[in-house]
């Protein structure tokens, strides 16, 4: 058991190191194509972290949405805009100060948080045991995450579905529906 824990700790440390390295490289890079690709790598690393935390549903979502769809959409945005980030016109002193203070406050805040992956946190001991006990009896669904999402917290998931629907409406309002506009332009150009 302890060898297993050491193994998980090593994997966690490796993944967190890669995460930090990826984040720093994203900050330093000016080539936005590289930034988008590295953001996909960042998502994939996060997904691996979720797997080590046994949150496979979240890992699945992160890998599919974060590393997959959003990378493609960001590439689409790049093609619509520019591929190189502009040099900042102002000095980096004030942003650095704000980030340092905010980061220090966050680090101070983590002192009160339970240790990483601890099983005796309020999250694990408050409603989770209740759901674990009730789900097999009341729904017969083996995947408790699905039961919580679709049944116990069905209102929330309905709201999320509506949010996704709203996202589509927003994008269509901003960019225009379907490819009709471009076809019109093309035909005008030919004439």
């Amino acid at each position: 058991m302890s060898a297993n824990l050491v193994g998980i700790a090593i994997i966690d440390i490796l993944l967190f190191t890669f995460l930090v390295v990826t984040a720093i490289v994203i900050l330093r890079l000016r080539n936005l194509f590289g930034v988008v690709m590295l953001a996909g790598v960042f998502s994939l690393l996060s997904a691996a972290l979720f797997v080590t935390l046994d949150a496979v549903d979240v890992a699945f979502t992160e890998a599919a949405v974060g590393a997959g769809i959003s990378t493609v959409l960001m590439l689409g945005t790049l093609a619509l805009t520019v591929r190189e980030e502009k040099k900042p016109s102002h000095s980096a002193f004030l942003p650095l100060l704000v980030c340092t203070i905010a980061g220090a406050a966050l680090l101070y805040g983590t002192r009160d948080m339970p240790s990483f992956g601890a099983p005796d946190t309020p999250v694990q001991t408050h409603v989770a045991p209740d759901y674990i006990a009730r789900t097999p009896v009341e729904t017969g669904v083996p995947n408790i995450v699905t039961a919580v999402l679709a049944s116990y917290r069905g209102y929330d998931t309905l709201g999320e579905t509506a949010v996704i629907f709203t996202a589509a409406i927003a994008v269509l309002l901003l960019l225009g529906a379907s490819g009709k506009r471009r076809e019109d332009k093309d035909s005008e150009g030919k004439e």
Binding site: G68, G76, N143, T146, S151, T161, G179, R181
Partner: protein
């Protein structure tokens, strides 16, 4: 695009398993990881991959954007409609227990139906957003690869 035969062959090989996997995730969400949201994304990815290799126009010939817009709304309606049906059957909004005589069965049915609604909306929305972005971009020329 005609020269990229490796891309075309590989994507043709990949797309059917991706769709099959999306359907597996959709209908087995109550047994394994995943559910409507992930299944919808994976399903959309199959079509987006097709579009990346063959062009947006090839995709819009298969699924028209109007159809996708309709299905984005239909998915939400399936979800909310399940809630209305359970209300009409005498339970609370989205209280699935009224859907069948046995509450455990009713829960399972309710979950499958609303997850289907989520999957339909997510797949249509992802494709809609992709098409909206991609159809504003000029198609990639061979020199851009």
């Amino acid at each position: 695009m005609e020269h990229h035969s490796i891309l075309r062959v590989i994507s043709k090989l990949l797309i059917p398993p991706i769709i099959l996997y999306a359907l597996y995730v959709q209908w087995h969400g109550d047994y394994g990881p995943g559910g409507g949201f992930q299944a919808g994304v994976v399903f959309a990815v199959a079509f987006i991959l097709y579009s990346l290799v063959y062009g947006v126009d090839a995709l819009t010939r298969i699924v028209s954007p109007r159809l996708l817009h309709a299905f984005a709304g239909i998915g939400v309606l399936i979800y909310a409609g399940t809630g209305v049906v359970t209300m009409l059957l005498g339970d609370a909004f989205l209280g699935y227990n009224a859907l069948a005589h046995d509450p455990v069965h009713a829960q399972e049915w309710g979950i499958i139906v609303v997850e289907f609604g989520v999957g339909v909306t997510v797949a249509s929305v992802m494709m809609t957003i992709f098409i909206a972005f991609a159809s504003h971009n000029p198609p990639l020329k061979d020199e851009d690869w």
